[in-house]
Amino acid sequence: MLAFILRRLIQSIAVLLVVGMVSFSLFRYVGDPISGMVGQDTPASEREALREKLGLNDSAPVQFLHFIGNAARGQFGLSYRTSEPVNRLILERMPATLELSFCAAVFALFVGIPMGVYTGLYPRHWSSRLFQAVSLIGISLPTFVIGILLILVFAVMLRWLPSFGRGETSTFGWWTTNFTSWKGLQALILPSITLGLFQLTLIMRLVRSEMLEVMRTDYIKFARARGLSNRAINFGHALKNTLVPVITVTGLQLGSLIAFALVTETVFAWPGVGQLFIQSVQFADIPVMAAYLMLIGLLFVVINLVVDILYFVVDPRLRGQGARAAGR
């Protein structure tokens, strides 16, 4: 198992280095970093001095090492658009994105798994068929269309919930939160549903198909023969064995949740990291783009690693053949 984790760790670092290389080439070769920092009438000699001072005249490998070193300390320079340090811009907006993604994940899991279990246990019931049909539509509708429809119904027509912004927030150190006031919680509802709906349908369909498969196995028949209660069979035996793929998919989806938050954030004018990234794409604000790329890369690599390790914790069958799994 240790060998397996070590191997995955090395792979992860390699992926991060590649992402770093892409970020670095963006930073270095797309647009001129100097022209973003100085005025138009700055003389060439001054530009050259700044170039020398920032190390832009060093060889590419040296610059790359500097870039990686700075990135490891969270330094990505100044934004071309606002001239503020990139790390501060991102840090300011991180809590909004994390709280939104967290609520969406909770929504997707706590609604998706029960719906999946239900439709898996009673596949022929009319309500299961209804869930199935709705989930097909949920998978086909783009995130932003779902958001717009929710705004139309709940904010414009019924006027129950706010349609944009975070509402009231409180600040603890550098962390701003929505969870302390009723208004802040209300503002979270529509964006979380929008962001979580796709994941919900995915989890529901996955749990359903896994449940259908597990219910046909011999050990479930045997459990019935032993006279166990339905509750013990459904949740103790069946659901537990569907969890391995659910953990994988949910884990991997956690990353795309944070990535897709950028669409939801645009629909609801939610001041998160995704919105910052969209603005930086529109203005070709390369330092912010590079930093966001590194951040998302780190996130995905960590999630993949954690998911791989969780396999071992959840599925005892894998522990015995750890050596074989490592060789895959």
Binding site: V15, V18, V19, L26, V30, G31, L136, I137, I139, S140, L141, P142, T143, F144, V145, I148, L149, I151, L152, V156, S163, G255, S256, A259, F260, L262, V263, T266, V267, F277, I278, S280, V281, Q282, A284, I286, M289, L293, I296, G297, F300, V301, N304
Partner: protein, 310 residues
């Protein structure tokens, strides 16, 4: 006449085939096919069929602005689905916009197919270091959602060229960006089949008679590995249309002078708060119907062409 008889024979064979049978026996698939065909015809014939030419400023009049759909009070049957703030007919804008969305979707599927098939062929046939490099790039790219990759490519292009130039070539930028973000699936599938095919005798025979590797790959291996590509392409068409709509909605896709469905939804979204719901709702419904229909067709095709499920 020979052409006619061979056509009728072909028709007979096609109507007798398993694929046609599985198509006819699924009413959902027929419905999806009808919707897809309807959208295709209405959008590609939009210059002939659309009641107005929404992007010709000389035909617009601001006094027609913000009319609700025709069945509402204040509606006007000249504008069946209402107008936007500049007096453009929503129905005509949707027809033109759908055509643009479909063109971008199909072109980007073609681009990713071209890249994916080429890299998959080379990767599977050459093997060794080339294979390892291509597949590791694929792994890294798969780590990120396709929409992020497309956004990133778009951002890089914006950094390289000026804003006016970007609006002119936005169509090609977005096709390239989406095409580059979806090639991995084709490459992996093709590579897998090529690795099986390349050890078969006909490939060895071709090698023995001294054909060049490129010729063997393109003329001999390729025709034998393209089977699954059609299914992937159909499913990816839905994804590509969604990606284009999402990018345009985020304001980094097609400009408002060349609006696709996504651009129309974004422009309408700005007016949603003041109660003008039709400008954004109707393009959204069109987009959803199109993607749902294409996805259903893709699902059916996957099952119909999979001999294991028969």
């Amino acid at each position: 006449m020979a052409g006619g008889t061979s056509f009728s024979r072909w028709l007979h064979r096609a109507s007798d085939s398993d694929v046609w049978w599985s198509f006819r026996s699924s009413s959902l698939t027929i419905a999806a096919a009808v919707v897809t065909a309807l959208i295709l015809i209405l959008s590609f014939l939009s210059p002939l069929l659309a009641p107005h030419t929404p992007f010709d400023p000389s035909t617009l009049s601001l006094s027609d602005g913000l009319k609700p759909p025709a069945w509402m009070p204040d509606g006007d049957w000249a504008f069946p689905l209402g107008t936007d703030d500049q007096g453009r007919d929503v129905l005509s804008a949707i027809m033109y916009g759908t055509r643009l969305s479909l063109v971008v979707g199909m072109a980007s599927v073609f681009v990713s197919m071209l890249i994916g098939i080429t890299l998959g062929l080379v990767s599977g046939y050459v093997g060794g270091v080339t294979d390892a490099v291509i597949m590791r790039i694929a792994d890294v790219q798969l780590t990120f959602p396709a929409i992020l990759v497309a956004l990133l490519i778009d951002g890089v292009v914006r950094g390289l060229i000026s804003v006016q130039r970007h609006d002119e070539i936005a169509l090609f930028v977005i096709i390239g960006a989406i095409g580059l973000s979806f090639w991995v699936q084709y490459a992996r599938t093709i590579r897998g089949s090529v690795m099986v095919e390349k050890n078969k005798e006909y490939v060895q025979a071709a090698r023995v008679i001294g054909l060049s590797p490129v010729l063997i790959m393109v003329r001999h291996v390729l025709p034998n590995v393209t089977g699954p590509i059609l299914v992937i392409a159909t499913i990816n068409l839905g994804l590509a249309v969604i990606s284009e709509a999402t990018l345009s909605f985020l304001g980094v896709g097609l400009p408002s002078t060349q609006p696709s469905l996504g651009t129309l939804i974004r422009l309408g979204n700005e007016l949603l708060q003041s109660g003008e719901w039709w400008i954004t709702l109707f393009p959204s419904i069109t987009l959803a119907a199109l993607v749902l229909a294409v996805n259903l067709l893709g699902d059916w095709l996957r099952d119909a062409l999979n001999p294991k499920l028969r």
